[in-house]
């Protein structure tokens, strides 16, 4: 804990794996910050990383995080900024070692102290834990994990802020984790800096909301903002959000001077409701947050004050994300032009389905969408104009049989010469067959996980 600090500035660097690579560089160089937090992990991301690790045991983390770190580590060292990220994915050790090598290459190896957090990966302990009475029942379907046990590829418990706090306590200036919650990345430094008690539920809730506002990057500072979107200026230079936190749990959301985008009540509110469930009961490993207690106040240009947040005690359970092999899918598309674009696309779909049937192929699901007509709003969009310029036919299949999905991918291109006219947009070639790694949300006793969490310097 740093005595006497009355404001801690935490800057968002990435909102997901694949986010704007310039953002963290600009956050580090564009003004004063104390921490840079980079969230890389979504449910879908974990399964992609898992696929990569299956192919190459050295992979399984966000590799572009390493490239990025090599670029910013000299600034981080010079300015005394600390970096916290869950870029480690399903291989945090590999990630930490790669960042260590990047620090050496950048010539700041002696100034960078990397902490590695492990213990979230419970794949090797899954059967032992199941025997000990943890059913890992699917939170959505109640099915026991035994249904899919042979197909399981990874299992990670969601850790909270504690290992981040511990890592900072050890003097780390770079903290690399696996499945630490998005919000824990921000709450950790606040608990470390302000010395908050981990059962001070209102402050824990406040730091969690700060994390929620930062975890999707520019989505709280003008990116993807619906309200008044035409008036959001200079998104090409969008400033990612920065939280200026106070010891009492209140904080201001802002961004660096001179950057584009906007921080206002609307931009913060849209992020607050993003991925929301029951707003009175937002459950994290660190505590439960009541979103109905949040107070927002505009405090000058690009400044929104957030206060009043109340929380409740954490539960004795942690969420677990299990990734398992589900089957295969492929999606193919063709574009039909005016005149009668929609009718032609519908005719092509009928022909395709008859051919699939004649081939004796069956799928768990065949989904047809007409992009330009119904892909995003379904029947709510109403009938398209008969003069519509073009319609994209987009057909997807999903099933357990790889050969059937593979055969489907060979039925798209033939429609060009054997189906309705005025068709284009097939230059990309045959659609790829994708392996589906599905997500199995479950719960596990906190006491089964926390004793195994380790923080070590790399």
């Amino acid at each position: 804990m740093t005595e006497g600090k009355d404001t801690v500035r935490i800057a968002a660097g990435q909102g997901f794996w694949g986010d704007w690579l310039e953002a963290p560089v600009r956050q580090v160089r564009g003004g004063p910050i104390d921490y840079l937090v980079l969230d890389y992990l979504a449910e879908v991301t974990m399964s992609i990383l898992q696929k990569q690790r299956t192919r190459d045991p050295a992979a399984g983390y966000a590799r572009d995080f390493v490239t990025l770190m090599e670029r910013i580590l000299p600034d981080v060292a010079e300015r005394g900024i600390k970096v916290i990220s869950n870029a480690g994915g399903v291989n945090p050790r590999g990630c930490a070692e790669a960042v260590r090598a990047a620090a050496e290459r950048a010539g700041v190896g002696d100034k960078i102290r990397i902490a590695l957090v492990t213990g979230d990966d419970i794949l090797d302990r899954l059967d032992e834990l199941t025997s000990a009475g943890e059913p890992f029942a699917n939170m959505d379907t109640d099915r026991p994990l035994s249904d899919v046990r042979p197909q399981v590829r990874s299992a990670n418990a969601y850790l909270g802020m504690q290992p981040v706090v511990d890592a900072l306590g050890l003097g780390a200036n770079v903290v690399i984790t696996g499945r630490v919650t998005d919000t824990g990345l921000t709450l950790g430094p606040l608990v470390h800096e302000f010395g908050w008690a981990t059962d001070d539920w209102d402050r824990i809730a406040a730091g969690t909301i700060a994390g929620h506002i930062l975890e999707c990057g520019a989505q709280s500072s003008g990116g993807n903002l619906l309200r008044g979107w035409r008036n959001v200026k200079r998104l090409e230079d969008v400033g990612f959000p920065i939280v200026e936190a106070s010891p009492d749990g209140s904080f201001v959301v802002t961004k660096h001077e001179g950057t584009g985008g906007v921080v206002n009540i609307a931009s913060v509110t849209e992020q607050l409701v993003y991925e929301m469930g029951d707003p009175t009961t937002y459950i994290t490993p660190d505590g439960i947050v009541d979103f109905t207690t949040i107070r927002l106040k505009a405090r000058g240009k690009h400044r929104v004050r957030v206060s009043g947040i109340q929380g409740r005690p954490r539960t004795e359970l942690l969420k677990v994300s299990v990734a398992y092999f589900y089957g295969y899918k492929a999606v193919g598309s063709l574009v039909y032009s005016w005149p009668d674009a929609f009718e032609k696309a519908k005719a092509a779909d009928r022909i395709l389905r008859k051919r699939l049937k004649a081939l004796g192929l069956s799928f768990e699901q065949i989904l047809t969408e007409y992009v330009g007509v119904d892909a995003t709003h379904g029947p709510l969009a109403g009938a398209p104009s008969p003069e519509i310029a073009e319609v994209m036919l987009r057909v997807g299949v999903r099933g357990p049989d790889r050969a059937a999905v593979e055969r489907f991918t060979r039925e798209i291109a033939p429609l060009v010469l054997t189906g309705p006219p005025s068709v284009t947009g097939f230059a990309g070639g045959r659609p790829a067959v994708e392996e589906i790694i599905a997500y199995w949300p479950a719960l596990v006793g906190r006491d089964k996980i926390e004793p195994f969490v380790r923080v070590e310097m790399v």
Binding site: E43, V44, S47, D140, N224, L226, R227, A266, T269, E270, Q271, L272, V273, Y274, E275, M276, G277, D278, P279, T280, F291, T292, T293, I294, R295, L296, Y326, K329, V331, Q365, L367, E369, V371, A375, T376, H377, G378, P379, L380, R394, G396, V397, R398, I436, I437, A438, Y439, P441
Partner: protein, 117 residues
């Protein structure tokens, strides 16, 4: 006197996903619109709006943010990596809700159209 108006003139929205459930956070564009949303944009009406697209709807109120949160269950063809949909993660269900038409007092409609111009 009441008049019919599309929700997009009264609210903005953002959506996200959790498994096969999409959420839509519907946020009033002005404080005086919020009670109208609470009264008119009921769980039942939203379920009817999304008929055939979702299997169930829940609604929660956040008066502090002038917002309603809707959970649209079974909206994403399995969701996550399973879904074959373009909008597999429910990112634009929010705008689909804004198509809904509701009955509002004339003064509310007038105020909404003033704000738009």
């Amino acid at each position: 006197m009441a008049t019919t108006i599309q929700l997009r003139h009264l609210a903005h929205a953002r959506s996200g996903d959790k498994g096969d459930t999409a959420n839509v956070g519907l946020i009033a564009l002005a404080p005086e619109f919020y009670p109208v949303l609470v009264e008119q944009v009921t769980r039942k009406r939203v379920a009817r709006h999304f008929k055939g697209m979702v299997s169930g709807v829940e609604r929660f109120e956040l008066p502090n943010l002038l917002a309603l949160n809707f959970l649209l269950h079974g909206a994403l063809d399995g969701g996550g990596t399973l879904s074959l949909k373009t909008d597999a993660q429910g990112k634009v269900y929010s705008t689909a809700l804004l198509r809904m038409e509701i009955e509002v007092p004339r003064r509310i409609a007038k105020r909404a159209l003033e704000m738009a111009s």
